[in-house]
Symmetry: C2
Subunit: 102 residues, 2 copies
DNA sequence: TTTATATATGATAATATTTTCATATAATCA
DNA sequence: TGATTATATGAAAATATTATCATATATAAA
């Protein structure tokens, strides 16, 4: 059985979802802008945005027919912490056969 | 292309690997003990331990014919931080269809 | 020095996740 | 209202990850 922490890592272990979080770290963007900047296919983007919304990592507001997404600032703080920390292990992570050779 | 942060989340997004980290959080254990306590199949455990070692999240020392694993204390600190933080989102994570219904 | 215990390795099978595809909805504009 | 733009939904196909299996190695004890 997966607990909340497992699910947390699952949410961020997806490349598209993580890239969305990174894009939203410093500015809010609508779905179309995210699509253009990240080159994620439209329906995938929509699925991933819904996941991030469900988990409350991001939030959304309507603006005309656009939906503008922004990061939850507590999520941003934690991600910043992780990024800072991971830099220490960067070289090791990149040479781990099990994580890379696939 | 995956960067170090992507790989970091991949490493922890695996249930077995995360359970190993949790077990090692407060005590050191040899492979056999981890196997018995977590009921992970032997070869899987070995693969996952190697991954965690490659990434320097854990370390190992020999003791006779056993190998005793322990957590890197910086990894422990970060994981503790994440766990503390994730509690806030627990209810949301557990009800995210995309992360759960599969 | 043979045997038993503890752990590791690599290839394939099983399973889970992600992408694609067809289509739907919602808001605005002509 | 009908067309257009922006985004969402759900199922099946494609792909990636994890588990299993057969086997190897390393250390210690008999």
């Amino acid at each position: 059985m997966k607990d909340a922490t497992d699910l947390f890592f699952d949410a961020f272990a997806n490349k598209n979802r993580f890239d969305i979080i990174m894009k939203l770290r410093n500015k809010e963007l609508c779905a179309g802008e995210l699509q253009r900047e990240l080159k994620i296919e439209q329906t995938n983007l929509s699925h991933d945005l819904r996941c991030l919304l469900n988990c409350r990592f991001i939030k959304v507001r309507k603006n005309g027919r656009k939906r503008v997404y922004s990061i939850n600032h507590e999520t941003k703080d934690l991600v910043d912490e992780v990024i800072k920390h991971v830099k220490i292990y960067e070289a090791y992570l990149k040479t781990c056969g099990i994580l890379n050779e696939r």
